[in-house]
Symmetry: C2
Subunit: 377 residues, 2 copies
């Protein structure tokens, strides 16, 4: 276990937990939502924006950073958290999901995945070992094991194979990580990923195999990939208790506010998702009463802020009418302001969740939040 | 003269002047550089960004705001400075320059200009009177007289006609402005524009005709439209003394840092230009040693900030290598950060100019600035 890594749970409310993860680049509180900094930056935001929203850890995509600017450049410039100016905890994913989803030509082999670059179509290969080495060079505080994530809609046979492969790859990656000679200096921490599709028995077996490898944290993968909300909850409620209680539990790629609240209720500690930032860039933000498509013509004269209950600086200053106008003129500032609001909204949600857990009133908070929130997802 | 409008010169250094313009939405110090907020927002920046850069007045384009969202919507939402959240002094141009330059089908008549919308090709007409009414509804603190700006490369006859027309239009617009019934409440101030191409005699006649109309401020138009730097200086040095010393003098569409310093030395008080913001979005910023094309491959590993002598928050935190990477990935954040730096750089230049005038050392400052600055314009 790296010197400075630790996870401490301070309060619980039902199965919901509040805690702190320490890394050599600082701490972050859980439950945490990690804004996605695809190529280093959270799209349209600056580090100052992220700080004022209250983000404590951000995620970088190994796939994108590996292709450009390349992990060696980032390593030479001090690692991801220094390169992008963030200087606080970072996490990188394993790259497998993007390699699969961003290339028509991606092929899985027992040894890894071959794929064509989105930039120039050049051929690349990720393996359980080189994904560790790439993330090692990128230098995030928390890195992820290489996994094979089956889509919700696939043959059972395919899902079984992907889940088995994920266990083999986890073992190979963990072994490679443990034997890397340059491991100590960066205090990186490796998390494992549980797959298992939408079947409890498959999830159970995957959880047993992955947790037997003794990672420092565990992710649930293969969710928010096309299944229903009921299926997601069934898998989260079943799988979360299978993960060690004293390690962080990370639900990858999730999600909508209601999904986060659901997962926290079962004991999930970490989340990441492009929803707040990607949707903001297409004219939709999250508000306390639900998603708001602020680009709509109905807001052309609307003097109200995006969210009357929001304390963010965008809602203190700008009207829906102005943001709609800027959006319709393709003004970058529209994307900046909308992204800021939704990023604040998610961080505020996490702050409120953590406060509610401390007050042992998580379910009350969840119920109150959802009573005013009209989900459109 | 509107109630709250005033211009007071506090210090001079040679012909350079330092002063303060008061409007009903607050003061701005001169010499002033006005960032251009085309459609309301300075592209890629927020009002908070502009404030922290030290901007005190911003410009809006009448052409763009007239087409979208329309002056009536902006009027109903409290006017430009409230609509865009800026809440500080604003200036709108007359729209003529964009009507001419953004449409192949633009036609000048003695009565005005007809043009096709950039959005849908629909036909529109600007006249000396309706341009006043449009700007009246937009509600900026300072509005501009309708003018005909001839390009540097045109027939003399064309320039003569454009300059004569500008005088006729100025008189018509001023008359219309003076007789508007709803004038008092908004305390708007109307500036006149001097044309005259690149001929001193034509400039002189235009200045005489325009200043005889007793505007509250005067702009030099028709410069930075393709002429050489020597021609620009010849016209500025000749024309500026022809404008009343007790009124603000505004050099429209200028310019490069060296142009601003030149013009201040002859007594110009106000500037606007898209250079710092537009260039930033294409990968070039202004620095104390000259323009820097930060997108270039040579900066791929460069750990230095954009400008080692700059105190802006971008230069305190981000490397050229990172900004180049973001730019090459078409990340919005690259445009945000580069625009912020160059906007800060221009405002810092104006702060230093004002300080130098107060210390009666403007020429010393100008000389020191230029000694380290390699112009590439």
């Amino acid at each position: 276990m790296p010197d400075k890594y630790s996870f401490k749970i301070s309060q619980v409310s039902g199965n919901a937990r509040r805690g702190v993860v320490s890394t050599s680049n600082g701490e972050f509180e859980t439950p945490a939502f990690m804004p996605v900094g695809t190529s280093g930056a959270v799209k349209a935001l600056t580090c100052e924006d992220l700080e004022s929203c209250g983000a404590q850890i951000i995620l970088g995509n190994t796939y994108h950073l590996y292709l450009r600017p390349g992990q060696e450049l980032i390593k030479n410039l001090g690692g991801l958290g220094k390169f992008n100016g963030w200087n606080k905890p970072t996490l990188t994913d394993s790259g497998g999901f993007q390699a699969m989803s961003l290339s028509d030509k991606a092929k899985f082999h027992d040894d890894g995945i071959t794929f064509a670059s989105i930039h120039d179509g050049s051929s690349h290969k990720f393996t359980p070992e080189n994904v560790i080495e790439i993330q090692r060079a990128l230098g995030a505080d928390i890195i992820m094991s290489f996994d094979h994530c089956p889509p919700a809609e696939c043959d059972r046979e395919f899902a079984v194979e992907a889940t088995k492969r994920t266990s083999v790859w986890a073992k190979r990656g963990k072994n490679h990580f443990d034997n890397l000679e340059d491991k100590a200096p960066t205090n990186q921490t490796l998390f494992g990923i549980v797959q298992g599709w939408l079947e409890k028995e498959m999830r159970k077996q995957s959880a047993e195999e992955i947790t037997s490898l003794d990672f420092e944290g565990y992710a649930l993968g293969g969710l928010a990939v096309g299944e229903s909300k009921e299926q997601m909850e069934e898998m989260v409620s079943f799988s979360t208790p299978l993960l060690p209680a004293d390690k962080p539990r990370y639900l990858m790629g999730v999600g909508y506010p209601e999904d986060i609240l659901m997962a926290v209720s079962y004991g999930i500690d970490m989340f990441d998702c492009v929803l707040p930032t990607r949707n903001a860039r297409t004219g939709q933000v999250f508000t306390s009463s639900g998603p708001l498509v602020f680009r709509n013509a109905s807001y052309a004269n609307d003097e109200r802020p995006l969210d009357s209950n929001c304390a963010c600086r965008v809602c203190q200053r700008y009207s829906r009418a102005y943001l709609r106008h800027l959006y319709n003129q393709s003004e970058i500032t529209a994307m900046v302001l909308a992204t800021y609001h939704s990023t604040w909204f998610y961080q505020e949600l996490m702050r409120n969740i953590r406060e509610a857990i401390s007050a042992d009133s998580f379910e009350k908070f969840r119920s109150e939040f959802l009573s005013g929130y009209q989900s459109r997802s």
